[in-house]
Symmetry: C2
Subunit: 319 residues, 2 copies
């Protein structure tokens, strides 16, 4: 006899039901009840991952569990918020016990790292799909939006770009990855590091921020459009990993610009921010300045040798 | 060319993006930002509806849109919370424009009635599925839980029971419904009335509450188990509609006890609550007292003539 909804909750979710002083009521009632700390705003993000669309059908349940939480943490990082509570709805095929065990093992890595409480959700039968809502807090009025970039601001990205795209292309047999980079690169796809600590440090400094889920070009465009500005960018300053540099230079650049799933942050700092501040931020996650905000709309790409560069691709299209 | 995610949001969701003074940032950034009013707790409920599981594939998009919000409102009603903000993730087949138009028409009926703001969510391709998280507020510490029922409390239900089950059975050709009741009964299935006003009025009065989504027997059992109590109940006092009474008496009773989807409230009031208070509550939604909380575990069913009644079924099983 298959396990009931209550058996499944008891068996797989109990460890994640870490109550904190702010959780008045977690799973087990009609709704969860939490207390937001006084003077804090609430920050909410919801993401759905569908098998075969957002992850290859071959992805392990552990990796899916890790990544489902990582992508939501990444959204909160881009706002400068501290993550707190999770609600999760899982739509699962028949007899999901062994899948759930793996999924929750991956999920719990990040849930424990950030002391997150799973406070509610839903379980249903159906084609595999995961919806997570993550709730964070920040001091009232300090959220970092996409709309705050101003002409003259410097544009930064964290980490390296295109590694997740490199891994996806290898899965699709479009290229192969040197064996010494395999583990690192597949970790970048399956176990992205949400830049929470960087996001918290950017509060009060960054004029805008976004997480790179659809590709730098598409996501930076969201900042520029929301801020009613443009940008002058140098493609030679994009941070590329040694693994990505194994590909021909133009192809590597294209991947860095257009492939999604990196979950690095792209953000803008006023030119007046001191070098010592940037160094402090870089100590959290390595940062690279890739250009500057410009008053005219659009992105202009100019190489270090002065030549114009024209990117050809676009980012991940949801519809 | 199909509409992009952004086109879809612009075309179908803009009207629902009603900003209030508490919404600092709705759809369009990495996350939504809201301010919870000082002294209020936050109440969160998430429900997923999967096509073919939670609603028949023939259900109209309008009815699905209405019901998806109604079931979440019903959960907040059972907590005594005031509904405020919605996040919604929709997984939709190709070319969802006409479906979305109908869905949002149904959704907007309740969103407008309760001045709810749609503040975030996700759109993805895949098999039709709807996840809604509804966020409500109530004065800190006043939530009504399942666990507060005490021996001697009276057990009440709102409205009538079993009408949604009657409609489902008619869809499955298990029986037919007299034409004069058809519209009313299918409305009970497709357009359930969330008992928000009743839930608000129960705050400070009810010792426990739950919404009846899985059938009275299963849902009342949640209250009794959480409260570590039992109940003595009179099946003859269950409120049955004239439409349900068209079926043989035993069958009608069985449906009222075990069919889900009614979204009425079941709650307990201390015996000391005055008749005049109950009348005030009944003026919001008709109420029936169906029994009393008992110190011994389990449900004992005793008819008005003193004979013992033994229900045979159980509620909706999620897994």
């Amino acid at each position: 006899m298959p396990l009931s909804e209550f058996d499944l909750i008891d068996r797989f979710f109990k460890n994640a039901l870490r109550d904190g002083p702010e959780v008045r009521c977690g799973i087990g009632d009609d709704a969860a009840v939490v207390t937001t700390p006084p003077g804090m705003d609430l920050v909410l993000t919801m993401d759905t991952l569908v098998a075969g669309i957002h992850f290859p059908a071959t992805t392990s349940p552990e990796d899916i569990g890790y990544k489902a939480l990582a992508v939501n943490l990444s959204d909160l990082a881009a706002m400068g918020a501290e993550p707190r509570w999770i609600t999760m709805s899982l739509t699962l095929p028949q007899d999901p016990a062994s899948w759930l065990e793996g999924f929750m093992a991956g999920f719990s890595i990040l849930a424990e790292q950030y002391s997150l409480s799973l406070i509610g959700g839903d379980l249903a039968h159906g084609p595999l799909s995961i919806t997570i809502q993550l709730h964070g807090v920040l001091p009232a009025g300090t959220a970092i939006y996409r709309s705050g970039a101003r002409p003259g601001d410097r544009i930064y990205v964290s980490g390296t770009l295109g590694d997740a795209g490199l891994a996806l292309g290898a899965l699709d047999k479009r290229w192969s990855i040197d064996s010494k980079y395999q583990e690192e690169i597949f970790n970048r796809l399956n176990r992205p590091t949400p830049r929470i600590e960087l996001g918290l440090a950017l509060r009060g400094l960054a004029t805008s921020a976004i997480d790179i889920s659809d590709g730098l070009q598409a996501d930076l465009d969201h900042i520029l459009t929301a801020s009613n500005t443009g940008a002058i960018l140098n493609p030679d300053q994009l941070p590329l990993s040694d693994a990505l540099r194994q590909l021909p230079a133009d192809q590597a650049l294209e991947i860095a610009l257009t492939s999604g799933d990196d979950y690095e942050l792209c953000f803008t700092l006023p030119a007046a921010v001191q070098e010592i501040e940037v160094k402090r931020l870089s100590a959290i996650t390595p940062l690279h300045c890739i250009g500057a905000v410009f008053r005219e709309a659009g992105m202009q790409w100019q190489r270090s040798d002065g030549s114009i560069f024209t990117p050809s691709g676009t980012g991940f299209r949801h519809f």
